[in-house]
Symmetry: C2
Subunit: 213 residues, 2 copies
């Protein structure tokens, strides 16, 4: 049987910056996979649940509390040169404007564009791909995009966020009709001036906790 | 840090028998949770991937190969009286008619009605609940019910299978229209006599591997 496996939790932390989907990565300053970028994570020791460990990691890295966090899947590493490892992956959606990254030189936490990732440590590119697919599928029938947006936002901002995750342009008219028909968002009484355009009505999510249609 | 956690794979193996959703359980003959029923599973040692371990367990318990198997989620056990444990749960859909249960007195593998389960070992009732919900959601947009049905089946048998998982009656006309419109099933050239009714047309899944609409 040998030694028991190492269990780690890792978190895919998404945000949108300038209409582009980004993921938070840390830089590995030691072996294995030294000098590569990787998803934030840590060894699980059993003193808290897996969900608690992932949530704590998220708060440590971003300061963001009460954001959407979901378990993605669990993978096993079989590298014969190392001990057997199990990685329990989660994903989270955070508003980059409300995030304060840790200032730790050893880790250099930094946002990276999902569409321009270098080869990452371990199988992290694959994990991020799967997370993007999961989030994209969930946009169809949930309100989880609330995690990426401020309290109030324009429909244009909402559409940009959806397009960033789905990585394709959406028809403006259909998008607006669909979003309003779900009841997941509602207009506020406020408008915002943006450049030379007429003021855009601001919307809000009717709930800022997960709702499934 | 203490000792490293124990990692186990467990498999929720579903079948339908007489129109009722069933799950395969084994009887625990030793501590912990002695004399309770539990999901089949085993300790993961790292010599194979988690997916391979779950697949092997499924074949050992049922003899069924090439059936639908999907990772469900991973839970952690925090019982302070035992070592920290992680359970990676999977679910599978098998045709009970093609299953040969192991004849092992120590385990007594046996089908149990999902709607009449006793309190199970560990948090297995919760795991099964989540698996039923996942399968039910997937029936809407996949063909994974193929795992529960023989090569050829009547629309009545298909509806009974769906109703068993969704645990609610479905409108016959809407169900048939919907299933045929998906292209997931197609009529064969054969019919089957059932009692005094006129012979029912037999259908087949157009693919017996996962298809997502």
């Amino acid at each position: 049987m040998g030694s028991q496996p190492l269990v780690a939790t890792i978190v895919v932390i998404f945000s949108t910056v300038d209409g582009v989907l980004q993921v938070l990565l840390v830089h590995r300053s030691s072996q294995p996979e030294q000098e590569k970028w990787a998803l934030p994570g840590g060894r699980w020791g059993g003193s808290e649940s897996l969900d608690e460990a992932a949530s704590r990691k998220l708060v440590e890295e971003t300061g963001a509390r009460g954001v959407y966090l979901e378990q993605l899947f669990t993978t096993s590493g079989l590298d014969p040169s190392r001990e057997a490892t199990v990685a329990v992956a989660y994903f989270a959606l955070v508003d980059a404007a409300r995030v304060r990254l840790r200032r730790e030189e050893a880790w250099l936490p930094k946002w990276h564009r999902v569409d321009e990732l270098p080869p990452l440590a371990f199988d992290n590119n694959l994990v991020i791909e799967q997370a993007v697919a999961r989030v994209g599928a969930k946009l169809e029938y949930t309100n989880i995009a609330y995690g990426l947006l401020p309290e109030q936002f324009t429909l244009r901002e909402l559409q940009t966020t959806y397009e960033a995750i789905l990585r394709q342009p959406l028809d403006r008219r259909n998008f607006r009709k669909r979003m309003l028909s779900t009841g997941l968002i509602a207009p506020t009484a406020e408008r915002r001036h943006e450049g030379a355009h007429r003021p855009a009505l601001l919307y809000r999510f009717t709930a800022r906790e997960p709702v499934f249609l």
